[in-house]
Every structure is written in structure tokens, then in C-alpha cells.
Subunit: 422 residues, 2 copies
């Protein structure tokens, strides 16, 4: 008998009808002879409504209380899912994060899982029940307080439980059919990928693909959990996110697995930096001390006439103002001319484990873009990814062009649904 963990997001349990449909799906899996552990998010808009209430009674809601408040959301959905399953004649029991043994640190709002002790879940399964677990939430042992895992928390809960229970697979149900070669809302001929390594998935997620959260994929990769991303609206096979064993990567795998676009970044350019050793380090220290993560970095060689150089880097748009403020405050000390801010950029990334063994991917990419008249402002690469910055208005066209150039186009156009839950 296999143990399967199934995770259903907020849009899959948005109302009573959806919950009944999800319950039927869970029962199917049970009837196929599997042990089933289900992780659920809060219903549809519940979390947003609770945040609105918090904002209405409090200017800066206390993080401990915010976690207490938000965890009510999964409590509601998990109890309803358990009831709906019981109505179909199967035993089901719901468990809070704390009851399920999701032990975290004490960082309210973005706690990290430090241990999973799923004794009660294991007992429920042994007694023939389906276990329904609240996603997104945990428990800190030293304070005795309830915590939440932050964005993507329910995916992470599901993967962590799958790991602790040694599940065969962690199925992530969503409103799309799986992982696509590109966002099908942008690239009409994008097609579903049958299998992708967790390393590729990480690069895609980190560079704009929205279906899975980075943290969950990281956890799955570190703990060897196989994920199956699939639709809650049909029974099609979705995308398997797997962890290849040493040397398992097949030669005939496509060089490029997917193309991701990201409009959430902005470019900061520090102009006229004196050509003195350590100036670049000073700038990056200032940015780091402001708690801002850098993504891509380009440093020009100093101009021959002035001896001054420029440094450009990208940050999340939400960090843009903070980056400018931190730099301006240090202008006199560092001695640069000015800061230029550009939030009209797009980042295109191509990802594929096949890059490791195939030369010429960069050349193929740059050729495709230049043929289409698309200008490249910045470039960065990892072992299995190449990212370029274009203007934001060029991004969608760039994705189409690159998708075609790497032979990813499908013969049929993809069906498109809405967004995903937490």
C-alpha cells in the first residue's frame, strides 16, 4: 500500500461545492488502495478577509496574533474537507499543524520547519482513516505558540509531511495542468512538461514561474521527495518533479526544459564610481545591510578618460525605494555620481539540465533575440540557466521567440485557468 500526500490550495476548496469535489477526489485515491494524507490551504479569499480585519483593528498587527488569526483559515477548510469525506462513507480526521507535529522555529509569519513528528497522522492512517492536515501552520515548542510558514507555506507543509511519512509522492493539486514550458497566458504554444528535475524547477520558480514555491521545491530536493503537480479539475497526469540519482540525467533530454519571464524586478545603476579597490564591496555591503537581496549584477570596466565605472544590479521592485535610499545616504562616503532607477525591465530565463552537456545554448539564445530585434541589457548564468534582462515591453515577445527557437512549441494551444492559492 502506497502512502500519498495530496495538497489542495485555496482555489480548490473555495466553497462547499469545491470541497465536495475535492473530497470525492481524495476518496478515489483511498479506494485505489492508497493511504492518503491531505494538506489543505484556507478557503479562497479567507486569508485576505482576515488580513483586512486585522488591518481594521490595528495599524501594525502583532505577528504572534496575526498567526493566531490566519491559522483559523485552514482550521475551517480542513474540518469541512474531513466532514465531506465522512459523508462519502470514509473515516477522515483533521489535524492542526501542531497536532500533525509540524515543529517550527519561533519566527512568526515566516517560520521554518525544524522537525516533523507525525505520530498522530501515522496512527490515524493505521486505523484506516484519511488524515486532513492544516497547511501553512506549525507550532513552536519553546514558546508553545502557533506559527505560520509564510508564502507557499502549504506546499512546504505537504512536502515536509511527505518526507516525514516517507510518502511515495506528494501531489500538488492546482488550477493548471502542471508545469509548462512557459506561462501559457504569454506563450500560446507552451506545453506541459511531463518530467522536470527539482533543480530545474528551482531555477524556474526562482525566475518567475508561479506554479510552485521555491521553498517547497528546495525542501523536496533536499529530502528526496517526488512531487506531482496536477490539476484538481481533471484526471490528467501533470508534471513529475523528481530528484535524479547521480548520472541519471538522460542524454536525450531536451536541452531547454522551460522559459520563465519575470516582471517583478527593477534595475539600479550606480553611476560614476571611483576606480578604487573595494568600492564595489562597499556598495553591496550597504545593500545587504538594508536587508535587500540582489539578483543580477553587471560591472562595467572603468572609462579610459575619467577612470570612473558603473555598477548595475537588479532587485525586487518592492525593495527599489529602500535600495535608492540606502545608496543615497552613502553617496558622500562612496563618492559616486548618482543612482539611476529603471523599473521598466523584464527578465527572461531559459532553464535546462541539458545545458551542462550542451555548448552553444547562449549563442542560440542571443541569436534568436537579436533576430527579433530585442535588445539585451544584462546577462547572468548558472550551470543550468541563462537569464537576460530586456525592456519590460519586449519580454512577452522575447519569451515567444525563445520558446520557438528552442523547439518547445506545441501543435495545440494550451488551456488557461486562473491563479494559484497559498
Amino acid at each position: 500500500m502506497a502512502l500519498i500526500v495530496q495538497k489542495f490550495g485555496g482555489s480548490s476548496v473555495a466553497d462547499a461545492e469545491s470541497i465536495k469535489r475535492v473530497a470525492a477526489r481524495i476518496v478515489e485515491t483511498r479506494q485505489a488502495g492508497n493511504e492518503v494524507v491531505v494538506v489543505v490551504s484556507a478557503m479562497g479569499d479567507t486569508t485576505d478577509e482576515l488580513i483586512d480585519l486585522a488591518d481594521a483593528v490595528s495599524t501594525v498587527p502583532a505577528p504572534r496574533e496575526m498567526d493566531m488569526l490566519l491559522t483559523a483559515g485552514e482550521r475551517i477548510s480542513m474540518a469541512l474537507v474531513a466532514m465531506a469525506i465522512r459523508s462519502l462513507g470514509h473515516d477522515a480526521r483533521s489535524f492542526t499543524g501542531s497536532q500533525a507535529g509540524m515543529i517550527t522555529d519561533a519566527k512568526h509569519g515566516s517560520a521554518r520547519i525544524v522537525d516533523v513528528t507525525p505520530g498522530r497522522i501515522r496512527s490515524a492512517l493505521d486505523e484506516g482513516a484519511i488524515a486532513i492536515v492544516a497547511g501553512f501552520q506549525g507550532f513552536n515548542r519553546s514558546t508553545g505558540d502557533i506559527t505560520t510558514l509564510g508564502r507557499g507555506g502549504s506546499d512546504t507543509s505537504a512536502v515536509a509531511l511527505a518526507s516525514a511519512l516517507d510518502a511515495e509522492v506528494c501531489e500538488i493539486f492546482t488550477d493548471v495542468d502542471g508545469i509548462f514550458t512557459a506561462d501559457p497566458r504569454v506563450v500560446k504554444k507552451a506545453h506541459k512538461v511531463d518530467r522536470i528535475t527539482s533543480e530545474e524547477m528551482l531555477e524556474l520558480a526562482a525566475n518567475g514561474a508561479k506554479v510552485l514555491y521555491i521553498r517547497a521545491v528546495e525542501f523536496a530536493r533536499r529530502h528526496g521527495v517526488t512531487m506531482h503537480v496536477r490539476s484538481s479539475f481533471n484526471h490528467n497526469e501533470g508534471t513529475i518533479v523528481y530528484n535524479p540519482k547521480e548520472g541519471e540525467e538522460a542524454v536525450e533530454e531536451p536541452i531547454i526544459t522551460g522559459v520563465a519571464g519575470d516582471l517583478s524586478q527593477a534595475k539600479v545603476t550606480v553611476v560614476g564610481i571611483p576606480d578604487v579597490v573595494g568600492k564595489a564591496a562597499e556598495i553591496f555591503t550597504i545593500i545587504a545591510e538594508a536587508g535587500i537581496n540582489l539578483d543580477m549584477i553587471v560591472q562595467n570596466v572603468p572609462a579610459a578618460d575619467t577612470g570612473l565605472s558603473d555598477i548595475s544590479f537588479t532587485v525586487a521592485k518592492t525593495d527599489g525605494q529602500a535600495a535608492i535610499d540606502a545608496l543615497n545616504a552613502a553617496q558622500a562616503k562612496i563618492g559616486f555620481d548618482k543612482v539611476i532607477y529603471d523599473d521598466e525591465i523584464g527578465k527572461l530565463s531559459v532553464v535546462g539540465a541539458g545545458m551542462r552537456t550542451n555548448a552553444g545554448v547562449s549563442a542560440q539564445l542571443f541569436t534568436a533575440l537579436s533576430t527579433a530585434g530585442i535588445n539585451i541589457e544584462m546577462i547572468s548564468t548558472s550551470e543550468i540557466r541563462i537569464s537576460v534582462v530586456t525592456s519590460d515591453t519586449d519580454l512577452n515577445n522575447a519569451m515567444q521567440v525563445v520558446h520557438t527557437a528552442f523547439g518547445l512549441d506545441s501543435n495545440v494551444e494550451a488551456q488557461v485557468h486562473g491563479g494559484t492559492g497559498r
Copy 2:
């Protein structure tokens, strides 16, 4: 420094504005130099909405899951109240029933408190914080499951915490000014009672007065907790519900403290019972085995000509059909003629500790009713209460008449608000 427990019902925390008002009230009590523990119910209609959802996904929701579901309600309100207090510059921490040490038996939906271990509450108070506790909910140690206390649960939570923490008083905030000599919606000249014994309060609550739940008053009486029922809309003194020490009842107390009316009962008459020893016991055993509580009982003497007698008793209307079914199923065995069901009755009760030392209360009551032309169908008495059954259409008039006859009328008409929360 006194420790005060304050309980706010669902209507007091119905929306963000109400929650902010409640928070300000709590802070006032803290600033007056008291330690404060607050027990809250779920916001306004939350519980009803959750029950509707449960009914939508499930025909007979599993009690364990229903408790898991409903306890989300207090979780939301307590976190919001804590946030609102913190916004006013005071430390506040919310605690679930389980965190507050409300240990119950395992009877989901109507669990009984078996122990209160408020160590975390005491610690929070010692650190200068205001503790906000979820009412209505508890925790069973042997199953590890969340439980709820049933109707009036939040009042009971508050009284139990007041007892465990040795609080000076348990303030029950509601939408009326206190306990009245009669329901002011029925008897316009009803007036607020300043003090009432818990024994009197029990009789009033058991006979139709709605402000306090019987269980909470019973708990307060058994554990010597003083309650203060007061309005959350003004700062007036409400009604003190106290536990007199032996011999403390003052001679000059009014004979009658209050008048209660109850339209929730129905009368069942079993007609033509053979005059054989044990027939009455058989009937009451059948009713008891059907899980139905009897209230008043009247047995006629056997008719001289037939040797047959009748027995009438009252039950809650909600149990009426079950009582009829149980009796009809046993008709052949017991050998009675038929069952007559009358749900058009009203029960009037007068309550007062002064009855113990004053004769003639019954006579005064019956005279008042007969003068007003009101017919009495059944009578029952306790040491401090007399109840009579009238027709339902006579009940309001009967309450007015009796209220006047016992000198309870006030010179001014009472202000009337809405209902009360759980």
C-alpha cells in the same frame, strides 16, 4: 491588585468597530490597576455561517470535526481583540482553550470542564500582559482533540477561569443592562435587579430567563464565583450574582426577585391509564429512555367510574414529537387510551429566596392570576420558585399582572436592546 475576568459575547465583537470599543473597555479596566483576563465568543454570525458550511458539505457533520470547525470562530475574535489592545499600547496575548488549560471530557459539542490549568494565563498576567482567551472551547487530554462546551459555553469558560484564577469577579458583558425582574420586552415596567443570589438566578435561567446560561450559573454557584452581568454599551453597574454565606440572606429582601416566562415547552397528556401500580413509572421510563427531560408533572386521581387516570407533563417543544413516538410505540404494552399534545402553553415562574421565610406567596400568585381571568393548567414548586402553566396567549398578560401584584413595577420603562451571544 484585583484580578478581573471579563467575558464579551458575539454581539460585542461583531465587527472591527465593536472590537476596538471592547479593546478600549478592557484597557480601562487594566489602567484602573487590575489584572485582566478576557474571554471572547466568536464574532457575530460567524458560528451560524460555519454551521451553514458544515451543512452544505455534509448531512450529519461529525462532532469532532464540527468542534474543529467552530473553534475557528473564537480564534479569529481573540486574535483581533489582542491586536486591538496592543494598538492601544498595552501588551495582550491570545490563548486557545487548550493553551489556557481548559481541560474537558471528550463529549464533542457539549463537553464538560474537568480541570482548568491556567499556567500560561498566570504567566502572561505576571509579565504584565492582558490575557485573551477563546471561550466555548476546550481540550481533551486522552484523545488530544479540541472540544466545545455547547450552548452558553463562553459564559462557562469565563466562570471556570475566574474560579481557577481566584478572580475577584467575573464580568459578563452583554447587550442588556443586567438581570431584570422580568423580560423588559414583555413587562414594560420591569427593572434591573442590583443583586441576586446564584440560586435565584439558576431558577430564573432554568425557567426562561435568557441573559445567563444555567451551566455558567451552576458553575459559579458551586465554585463561589461572583458574577457581574452588565452592558457593553454603557458603564452602569449591572447585576451582581452572588453566593450568600450561611444565614446571610437579609430579612428585608423582596419576597420575589423576578418573574420568568417560557414559551418553549409543550404539554403531553397520556389519557386513560389503567389504575395499576407502576404504570406511571413505566411511562416515565419510556420518556427517559428516549433521552427526553421532563419538567412539570401532574397526575390526576383515577376517575371513580372507569378506574382510569391521566398523566400530563411538559417537555421542550423540540422533544415533543419524540415523546409522542415513544409513547405510541408502547401504547399496547401500557394500555392507555391516547396521547394528547398541546404546544400552545406558556410557563410563568416567580422566583425569590424570600419565599423560604414567607408564607402565602402561592395564594397571592393565584389570586392575581384569577382576578385577571387567567386559567392555570399545571403547578409546580421548588423551595424558592412557583411555576404555573397557562395558555400561551395568556403568558404575557400573566407576567404583567404578577409583576405588579408582587410590587416589582418600576416607575420608568426599561430600555430594550437585542438578543445575546453564545
